[in-house]
């Protein structure tokens, strides 16, 4: 079980996403998960070993490290990526439920069911409308909330997004205010800013997708309202014309009859 398994699970959702949703998924896997696995994990790999404090007092380093890094960047990113990916499962569950219903209809031999076989139902792509629209929109909303919460948590915990070279620590059992040096601070700052930037791009993509879905929804509604089945004025004009034509026809018939009779 690893990120590859998450990719398999979310890949199925991709089929039923909008184009912006597909772009979001690509950005998530390439610029966030892959960067985390192949690069960021190496940078933070030796973090506590190479966190050096200017004291020989046993325990001081442990305590200072714990004070400055209550939860490591890398773990916070991993949690963020997991939480941000989970709302897409709502859509996957909804689609699976719809497919299950259609398969049930097909098996009952319902005449309303327009599929030829079960394979067709399995491969079918559902359009984002009706209740699926609500599920999809809620999933985007939750994604946005999780992204915002984690970005705020980062900012709050680490006082901005910069990794300092030196930290001063005087937590017990350190005998006095002790200098502690973080390993690879510049590289960590670069990766932190990169991950924050990509997070922001994902937030923008989610907002764009939300706007797109809302616009589509309102356009569809206004089309339904603007395309009535019966327009009274139009009908009256048609009726009047038909009446005139009927009179003409009946007049000409009468004339013909009179003509014949005479």
């Amino acid at each position: 079980m690893d990120w590859g398994a998450l990719h398999t699970i979310l890949g199925g959702v991709n089929k039923h996403s909008t184009s912006i949703g597909k772009i979001w998924l690509t950005v998530l896997f390439i610029f966030r998960i892959m960067i985390l696995v192949v690069a960021a994990e190496r940078v933070w790999g030796d973090e506590q070993d190479d966190f050096i404090c200017n004291t020989l007092q046993p325990g001081c380093k442990n305590v200072c490290y714990d004070h400055f890094f209550p939860i490591s960047h890398i773990r916070l990113w991993a949690l963020q990526l997991i939480f941000v990916s989970t709302p897409a499962l709502l859509v996957a569950m909804h689609v699976a439920y719809r497919r299950h219903e259609k398969k049930r209809q097909f098996r009952k031999g319902d005449q309303k069911c327009e599929y030829k076989d079960i394979e067709e139902i399995r491969k079918q792509r559902f359009h984002i409308e009706g209740s699926l629209w609500w599920t999809y929109t809620s999933s985007i909303f939750f994604r946005l909330v999780f992204e915002a919460v984690f970005m705020y948590a980062f900012y709050f915990m680490y006082d901005g997004f910069r990794m300092p070279r030196l930290m001063k620590c005087n937590a017990w059992p350190c005998p006095n205010t002790v200098d502690c040096f973080v390993s690879r601070p510049t590289e960590k700052t670069v990766f932190t800013i990169f991950m924050i930037a990509v997070s922001s791009i994902c937030i923008l993509l989610n907002v764009a997708e939300l706007c797109y879905l809302l616009t589509k929804f309102f356009l569809r509604r206004s089309k339904k309202v603007g395309n009535p089945k019966h327009h009274p004025n139009h009908e009256n004009k048609e009726e009047t014309k038909q009446n005139e034509m009927n009179e003409l026809i009946s007049d000409s018939c009468q004339n013909t009859v009179i003509g014949f009779s005479s």
Binding site: M1, A5, D49, I71, R75, I82, M93, Y97
Partner: protein, 219 residues
């Protein structure tokens, strides 16, 4: 042999589960197994190396670490994941038994071997009870072993060969505590899902029984 085996096992169980059962599988996969593999394992990776005592006496650190961590959090977590997923095998075995029986008798004995009715309902309920039981047992174990889901920064140790009461410092205690509490939260969520699924199945069974009796009376 790795977590992939558990993943395949749970995917197989998914086919015969109710909707709530599938939610349970999703929670176990994503919020427990995936978090364990990609985040939690690395926190506890060097726990022994980074456990430091304020003494140079050889053996003191080893003895103190062993005293405070009889079974490491991360191993207990892994055991919990395995034990909690295994009762689902009962359902898989029962369905396989049904299919085998149909093949043996060469006729259709069940409307659908995977449908949760008759004996399979009891097997499913037993698997839910076992899953919930294991979750509760492990939560109690965590609570008793680690003094209420706490990971302190400092522990005092005076076991031989430590010459006196010695200060020992645990590495990354805050991060460990956060993940421990996350584990407890997801465990509780899984217990709630299991109990809801049990109530749903029992309720559905009673409604079915009542309806059948009602139909019979009318006839």
């Amino acid at each position: 042999m790795s977590w992939k085996f558990l993943r395949d096992l749970l995917s197989g169980v998914n086919k015969y589960s109710t909707g709530i059962g599938r939610m349970w599988v999703a929670v176990v996969f994503i919020l427990r197994l995936l978090v364990y593999v990609v985040a939690a394992e690395n926190i506890w990776k060097y726990e022994h190396d980074e456990f430091e005592c304020n003494i140079k006496q050889p053996g003191c650190e080893n003895v103190c670490f062993d005293h405070f961590f009889p079974v490491s959090h991360i191993r207990l977590w892994a055991l919990q994941l395995i034990m909690v997923s295994t009762p689902s095998l009962l359902v898989v075995f029962h369905v396989a038994y049904r299919e085998n029986r149909e093949k043996h008798h060469n006729q259709k004995l069940y409307k659908n071997p995977g449908e949760i009715d008759g004996g399979l309902l009891y097997t499913y309920l037993i698997s839910l009870i076992l899953k919930t039981g294991f979750e509760i047992v492990f939560l109690v174990l965590f609570y008793k072993l680690y003094n209420g889901f706490q990971v302190p920064r400092l522990v005092k140790c005076d076991i031989r060969p430590c010459p006196s009461t010695v200060d020992c410092y645990i590495s990354k205690p805050t991060e460990k505590m956060i993940f421990l509490r996350f584990l407890v939260a997801t465990s509780c969520l899984c217990i709630v899902l299991n109990l809801s699924e049990m109530s749903y199945l029992v309720f559905k069974y009673f409604i079915k029984c009542y309806w059948k009796r009602h139909v019979k009376k009318c006839q």
